[in-house]
Symmetry: C2
Subunit: 225 residues, 2 copies
């Protein structure tokens, strides 16, 4: 690649990276607002989250198209190619995080004017929402700044999410559970949405770590389980 | 690309396609056996499904590596590039389907020596297992034979999966439900695993349809919801 082509390529890569960071911001806001909608049975917020997911989908498709055009036109060297392929995957993860936030919002809408979450589980779901927010903010700064220290903290946040998720299930199946099966089904699904959201955030961060360090161990569990 | 390079490229593409078909076979067998393990509380089958998922993961990572090397070495033209990128995505979907079969098997193991599925839901879960099997077999033949007729039928199968999924939920929240919350939580998760498995099968098929027809509408809903 000549100098000026290289320069243009760097500009294009930076623009793709900026778009990924913008997507973390959007899906972070979506999950944060979806959590509010779920806990407060706020229909207007739920509807706005559901509608706003289109924007994330559009950014995802735009990013895919741009990355493909870059690969096809520039025939990038192996390292650049890996960055672009990783960007495609990160975009898919982020798009899925948007879907999961939309699922939470749809649960809020389904049970409106009631809250799908009984009072004694409010703090659990609120905390899962907070951890989700921490995860996605860190994921954004890992993309933007190759911040490997944040990547380590992110794994701890994800452990916290798993702990909250297990705690939620324990409360559902406790003999003292008094909210019936429908609410248990709702909470089971909501818990799974938050947990998967966290998994995808971690998957995005791991892809960045792998690009920076080449450390396959850190990038392992690449498919969020 | 020179003639002989082109020939080699075609051979490499075919080998990647064969590997995708092999993955459909493996994740199909995994979900079929996981369903048996779940319904019959068969621990040995559950353990074998859980262990066998490593093979799908290994095929996925191998395919990723080979596709990346092909892209990097051959700098394929736009159409070939799209095929390779689509193969990467299909492989990721299939890997995820393996995970979901493993999740079903883990549920079987968790409740052993009991079955996680109460007798009156056996036929529902069995039917979801059958539909999953139909979906993945069709997905395999769509990859292998660009069989667009099967692609249409696959959408109908997926609708059937969604119908079964809704029916399952309806039974859980029915006032006559007598199996308690823990079983309801298990069935909620199992139902979600089958539904997501179907979504990913459809996503794989849609990617093939898009490659063959260029029809973006058919490829829409590209992210399995």
């Amino acid at each position: 690649m000549s100098g000026s082509l290289r320069e243009q390529f760097e500009v294009d890569l930076q623009s793709i990276e900026d778009q990924l960071v913008e997507m973390t911001r959007l899906v972070g806001s979506a999950m944060s607002r979806a959590t509010t909608a779920l806990l407060d049975a706020d229909l207007a917020i739920a509807e706005s989250v559901i509608a706003a997911d289109e924007q994330v989908d559009a950014l995802h498709h735009d990013l895919e198209e741009r990355a493909l055009v870059l690969i096809a036109r520039q025939a990038p060297v192996a390292t650049d190619l890996r960055v672009l392929i990783a960007a495609l995957r990160m975009s898919a993860d982020l798009e899925r995080m948007g879907d999961l936030a939309r699922h939470v919002a749809k649960l809020a809408r389904l049970r409106y004017p009631n809250s799908a979450v009984p009072p004694e589980l409010h703090s659990d779901i609120l905390e899962m929402g907070h951890v989700a927010q921490r995860l996605v903010v860190k994921t954004g700064s890992i993309i933007a700044g190759r911040d490997l220290k944040a990547a380590g903290e992110l794994e701890a946040d994800d452990d916290e999410m798993d702990r909250l998720h297990r705690g939620l299930f324990a409360k559902l199946v406790d003999p003292t559970w008094s909210h019936g099966v429908e609410t248990a089904v709702d909470i089971t699904l909501a818990g799974r949405y938050y947990e998967r959201y966290g998994d995808h955030a971690v998957a995005v961060a791991r892809r960045v770590v792998f690009l920076v360090t080449g450390d396959h161990a850190a990038a392992h569990g690449e498919s969020p389980n």
